[in-house]
């Protein structure tokens, strides 16, 4: 029995070194060499400063920007709402018949009323799973065009072209909706608006 335990200890340590450490560290090395940008988190650098990651959404709520989805992330220490906290991902976890869900969506609708011209897209007022969703549906972006045009002075036609340029379609025409990356859209918008 003792011998058996000792052999198992040796086996566990050997496997931990190979599979826990070796496998992981070799992959980190391969990632850094072959795909350094992706391996470091697809960071966007402007003028030598990191302005974000193209995969991680940011909290755009003010005028002059396209808005992203509601985020339910909180501050890890205080527990207070802290949208798009990329150090503490979270969804709302509100169930479909919870009155808190309805009042939250209602608040989100009120916040987006001035930003959206036509019918309110559900994608823009219902919280994402991660609280860090970098994208909105194409429709949710197009509905914001008139408001963003008013706020920035950029003609609607130009904005529509911009949105169309940034839009990504379904993989193989089957997987995922037509959608737009909000941070990349706003970066492109800033360039056009000359800010």
């Amino acid at each position: 029995m003792t011998l058996s335990i000792w052999r198992n200890v040796r086996l566990a340590v050997t496997l931990f070194v190979i599979l826990g450490l070796g496998y992981s560290l070799v992959l980190v090395g391969i990632g850094q060499v072959l795909f350094p940008s992706q391996a470091q988190g697809s960071l966007i650098v402007r003028h030598g400063r990191i302005v974000g990651s193209s995969l991680i959404g940011q909290n755009f709520t003010g005028p002059g920007y396209f808005h992203g989805r509601p985020s339910a992330t909180v501050n890890a220490v205080t527990g207070k709402p802290d949208p798009y906290n990329a150090d503490n991902s979270a969804g709302s976890n509100l169930g479909p018949t919870n009155p808190a869900l309805l009042s939250e969506i209602k608040g989100n609708i009120a916040a987006q009323r001035g930003q959206v011209s036509g019918a309110m897209p559900g994608n823009l007022v219902e919280s994402s799973a991660s609280g860090l969703d970098p994208e909105i549906t194409l429709q949710a972006a197009l509905e914001q065009v008139p408001a963003v045009s008013r706020q920035t002075g950029v003609p609607e036609a130009t904005l529509r072209r911009l949105v169309a340029k940034e839009a990504e379609g379904p993989l193989l025409g089957l997987y995922g909706p037509w959608r737009v990356n909000v941070l990349e859209l706003n970066l492109a918008l800033r360039q056009i608006a000359g800010r």
């Binding site: 496997l15 990632g31 009155p99």
Partner: protein, 565 residues
Amino acid sequence: MTFQGLLGDALFLLVLTFAAVPVGRYMYRVFEGQPTFLDRVMGKLEHGIFRLAGIDPEQGMDWRAYAMAFLLSNLVMAVLVYLILMFQQDLPLNPAHLGPVAPTTVFNTVASFITNTNWQVYSPEQTLSNLSEFALEFLQFTTPAAGIVVAIAFVRGFVAGRQDLGNYYRDLVRAMTRILLPITFVAAIALIALGVPDSLSGPAIAHTITGATQVIARAPVAGFEAIKQLGTNGGGIFNVNSAHPFENPGPLTNLIEEFLMALLPMALVFTFGHYIKNRRQAWIIYGVTMTLLVVLLLVAYSSEAAGNPLVHRLLGVAGPNWEGKETRFGISGSTLFATVTTAFTTGAVNTMHDSLMPLGGFVTLFQMMLNTVFGGDGAGLLNILMFVVISVFVTGLMVGRTPELFGKKIEVREVTAAAAAMLVHPFIVLGATALALATAAGRAGVFNPAYHGLSEVVYAFASPAANNGSAFAGLGAASPFYAISTGIVVLLGRYVSMLLMLYIAGSLLSKKTVPASTGTLRTDTWTFGWIYLGIVLIVGALTFFPVLALGPIAEQLAMLAGKVF
């Protein structure tokens, strides 16, 4: 539902099946020691591992020795990881300088990861160092391997002329070196190329164009992600698991991850067919299980696509249920993932299950209750075969023939053990749920009101009991009550039935193989397949229907009636 979404689901299941058949054959060759293309490289690695551990991999084991080795190796690995987690603050590879982990959390986490469950009561980016994640990653390799080899040992009990169930250590190591490691390695590199980070640099600090500062947690994600899915583990390196854009950046990574989750449990059905030299039998099990999976997928997809009538009517927002979903997956990519992860009991989520529509939540819950919709690596095949044993006994009684299965007589001993293994699951799910509802500590964790609150609690025990690991995450699962109770449930859910199945295998091994005669009830027919499925559903319905009626079904009806709580 869109035509495009349905076509996408169909294409996925087709590709999966085409891959599972050859992988199933390959696994048979691996475990029976037949030559494979990895022999030269991996043979040396295996030799080295056995030398360092001082283990003779050729010694055959009876069921007792096999079970003992399984338990002992699990215990030792659990202790090793326990120590790493307890002392992470004093160990290297902790770039975010994370402090000590609460003892109840360490217990729950080790119990959860040693059982292939990966139920998580902590927020990883705020809790675990890189070294701790590597320790969990090590268990993400060893536990699916252990599940697979126990299933293989069970199946060997049916093979005519065998004297033993094989050598546990040889099987375990080969499962890792020949199956898990090569596939995850390739998958992980593909994931990095598609945007999944793999970094030891700690968090990145971004200064955004709106003047804010954003701390972006990073981790060695890709390697973890690949084995998390292939090993039907499911534990995230971020709190929201595969909903996090770093774990799952787009539709293609989403497909890869779904594929990895489903590959081995489905392939094992075909491996089983090779062992009993009856591939028709494997196809029949595949066929009826796939039918059930497709039906449940359609229920989930249609209910999410239909959306929330309360939101439609009271708030005037039309469309599908976007709450708790990511844009890039869309509704079909979210529901396919939710269905696959609970069918193949992985527990990774790309959608917040707590925010699924009542019927969407029903599907995820029901699949974990059945625990046989392919199931997890190894554990799934074991559960399926447990129900096959029971079905053969029941049908034998009905037609008055001696129950025989694949040439071995099924007698009192085997049926008693199979029935006991079958009852463990509902017993621990419902017993623990009752305990939680009866105590203030249990009720205190409930987040959503009324029927949905009940679903949350049932889910919190169905998921650990099925060694799934996904959650209705609104529940305050980190409280000592849930950390300890779910920790115990995962252990019972894994070990009791696996030991009973090994016991059955030992008993079958000692029996003579009887050649099939006209008096034998054939199991490789569709009639038997549907009876098997009927028994799975009847047992599931009889044991779990009351709680499902009070949870998701009641919530669905209340929602349709326009009721808010």
